[in-house]
Amino acid sequence: MIAPLFVLVCCAPPVQDGRLTPLPAERASALPDKLEGEMKNLDPKLEGWDTEAFNSAAGAQISALGKLLHDPAHVDTAALAPLLASDFSCGPLRPEELTQVFASGVLRVLRGTPGSRSLVGAEGFARALRELGGAYEAGADVHLKSKIVSVDDHGAGRLACNALIMMWGDSGPGVTQQTSDWTIEWDWSESGKPPRMLSVCCTRYEESITSGAILSDCSEAVLGANAAWKQHLLRGTDDWCRRIDLAAGMNQYAHNGLAIGDVDGDGLEDLYLCQGGGLPNKLFLHQPDGTARDQSAEWGVDWLDETMAALILDLDNDGTNELVLSTASGVLVMRRASGKPDFELARELPFPGGYSLAAADVDGDTRLDLYVCRYATANLPNGLPTPYHDANNGPSNALFRNKGELEFEDVTAKLGLDHNNRRFSFAAEWADYDDDGDLDLYVANDFGRNNLYRNENGRFRDVAGEAGVEDISAGMGVSFGDYDGDAKLDIYVSNMFSSAGQRIAYQRAFQPALDAAVRGQFQRHARGNSLFRNRGDGSFEDVTLESHVGMGRWAWGSQFVELDGDGRPDLFIPNGFITNEDNEDL
């Protein structure tokens, strides 16, 4: 629904279409098509959410503003005028006084509150925008990306929205990034014409400035010498979905992860990359010079079965690592072999459709046990998640106890983990959140509440509700870490930040029969990621909003990571759902 204002370079090359011709129109139109009827239940515009139409129109206007800001020192006042209502006014968009809240190495962060000075008309707006662009060096190529997060219809063609405005551009040897929240009032009283801005008010302002590179893409230097780089890894899922048989398991969603671990025991950790059905999983052995060598076939781990997750770990405490894979058809356990290939399949757990894997020695017998999350796959007859905001009708998750000799038994029910256990689970992590000496388990679930299974003398009880971490939303990932240095483990949960969901769920027409509590759950569902601060008494406090970490977009495997060496965990958030060549987003 919202077209991104700037399509960043790379990643979506246009489709080469030259060799095929469409069917003659009269034959094509005779083919039956059911799409129209189904579409009615899908497109918010057709569902009658007026503000969705507004969102497209307003988004286009902000996009037009972004183009005028390419060279912010020379904002064209005349070109601004058509975006603005005649009585336009705004406040300053970059505070005059900025406070440095962080400085380390190549990175500084400044914050400030824009004053209340009033600027009027296109002239005034141009001035505010030039001030905003003062953060960049002269001639910098400045980009803008926005997201409308809520819309209020005041009637009579007056609407207001809150928008996240992100701008970035070169600044000397580094990059400057501005992150702002704007409240924009609009006049949309003239039908058939785009909305015009009545006022713009900046309510939050932050500036990050680097003086050198932080993250650099060296993928090609590490992997480029392997044939698989060009043949396999430089082709995206949209391309493989055009040429690999559906029966092989290849699909658009690409829930395929990765594992780091020392597979060959040389002291360098290697990379195992899971792939969709029909594409081989890849084992890249880490070389001292930083490159990685494809040894997938030689080591016997080039599985073509659709693989979601992998673990590299020592299941039998013999000093060599096993490899565990969750695949569409079961959990594969491989161990080092004496001959060639270097790995052999030792065991398969008949547990199809596994997603994230999390290992821990739950019963203290020194052997690592396996928790397997499950979502829905074509193989599993569980139907659709119902109800959407609180579904518990998915395939069950399981804890497999390691009995030794790479044999496993399902102890899910025995340990009380069968409660609340069919919630379309994407991810799980083990951690002793209550410092009582045993490991507890947090499970992130897609359609509603998450689980926090507290370990109570070896049996588990779901205490997510009482601990305040149910986090009713589209859970995709979980990470434990101590973000505030109080030695207590906090929880960061990845969710779906759906601006369309945010906008729609707050309107009265959305499921009008809902009571306030359930409506709240739907609204919560699209809020984004959550940060829960551990109070130390077994409960958590939701500190997402004050910490400004909710907007992770359509987030998957967020993790606390030590980025800059200051001992305070930062957050890396891989995100984005489906990018196809079509720019119009669902």
Partner: protein, 623 residues
Amino acid sequence: MPSQSPLTGSTTLEYSQAWAATNRLIREGKSWSGREPNTLYLNAGDRSFADISFASGAAFPDDARAVAPVDWDDDGDLDFWVANRTAPKVRYLRNDAGNSSRSIALLLRGTKVNRDAVGSRVDVRVGEQRQVQLRQAGNGYLAQKTAWLTFGVGQAERVDELVVRWPDGSEQRFRDVATGTRYTLVQGEQALKPVTPRSTAAARGLAVSEPKAVAPTSAARIALVKRRPLPEMSITDTAGRTHSLGGRPLLVNFWTSTCSNCIAELNAWNTESETWRKSGLAILALSVEAPEAGGVPGAARTLMQRLEPSYSWGTASDAWLHTFNVLQRWIVDRQDEMRVPTSFLIDAQRRLAYVYRGPVSAAQLATDVATLALDDEAFARAAQALPGRRAHAAGLPGMVDIAGELFDGQRLDEASFYLELGLAALGAPTPGEPLHQRAAAALTKLAGGYLEAKRPAEAVARLERAVSHDASNASSWFTLGEARARLNQKLPAIEALRRATELDAGLAAAWLRLGALLNETNEPAAAIEALRSATRAAPDDGRAWFTLGGTYLAQHAPADALPCFRKSTELQPQHALSWTGLGTCLAFAGDKPGALQALRRALELDPQDQRAKAMLEQLQSTR
């Protein structure tokens, strides 16, 4: 989609349609929350975070799924491997943010606990600042991070205190540990062992570049790792020969005379006919241009007269075009409507083995035909896009979807063929399972098609299976009753209709049909009861009132019949027989003027109504 979700209980049609439509739009190339820049939040130390996604270079617009941190270049800070849906399918991001800071890294080794020491926690204190790291195996989403625990310590040269808590609850404490070093920490040992990094300087100086994704192409040779069975089909070519599928390798090609790639391909096959003929292949080229009066498009004929093809050619019927279009949509997860040229290579066992979107050379055809004789396992290996091993053979996906699309085009027998293949994969009917409920619904839908096509026996066969998959589907029982009734199997029909009305008392049509059948089997009391239920379920349906009135009348109860016919004439005033019935009842009631008026109305609507005529004459002859 959430706006369609039922709030409790089971899935509604609208909700499942919304899901189906979403999945379909994605298969057809729509984006959904696409081109989202990865987000990186910097911990600013005041319980707040700063967005440095763009400033840091993390904001690749990939469809990123999972991240695994590891100090890949041994420079003391964590680098990142990110798995993507889009190309490049994995990125290595070197991190230089920690270059001016010091750190210490630990690899734990359990001796009394699991060897990997998974489940351990390490606390590090430098001055007042504390930090925690966990040794985990499996974290984030679909990811496993490095086994090393890396602590950034700013400029500190020593860590004041380091405490490891092993998963068995035991603790070890270390004081005054030098930073800037990697250590192994073995459970029970008194000292940390420094580790010399294995990475060379080259690892820290790797070139930076922007990987260039390979542009996708619509044209593709799709080898099916699982060959798809095809229904029996036949078509007649321009020479009057009938072609059916199976028996020998056959290439079915769709083309138009306005498509230059088609013409080039048709031409090449002609000049290189030795190549593909040797392999035992037959080619059937079907034009998809609209046929003209003679049944053949003129431009196509002109082209073929010029080419003098060494293979058969003809015009694609709607049946063939539709069926092959649906098939090519469901062999890969990226669905497009068929374009030309598209060709289908079918083996002697009537199975689809290869689909070529775009032109295919005679040499490639010969190569592919040679693989058709392979057994399933060998063929699957030959059909892999890239080499690898499989733990499980591929199944037959999309069969029920194919059936649904063929059904929508009224290709009942082809739809039935694929539905059966889809159901075969389900196993024995298990009541209450969603998949079996869907199977029952699909069989019922198909049976409805057969019923509409006046093929009730085929309908009954499917419906009897539908109710074995899901005996709680009222619509299946009703359709079964209807189909049996059309086959004149009255008692079994009544039984099915009774089941339908037991499951759904609001099913007026089932009550009505049941009432009518009970009349035919001379059970008037039961018929009246059923028809009363029909009028309760659908008080505005005139047919129910009419049938009920007729039943009363046949039972010589005109007083009971009268209000029924009144209702019936109100609800369907154009229905002649309702007026006849009303007239008859009024005559019995002694309302001669009313009766005459009603009968005259009946005859106006249907002058041939013998009953009304006779009644009218009788009334007029009596004084």
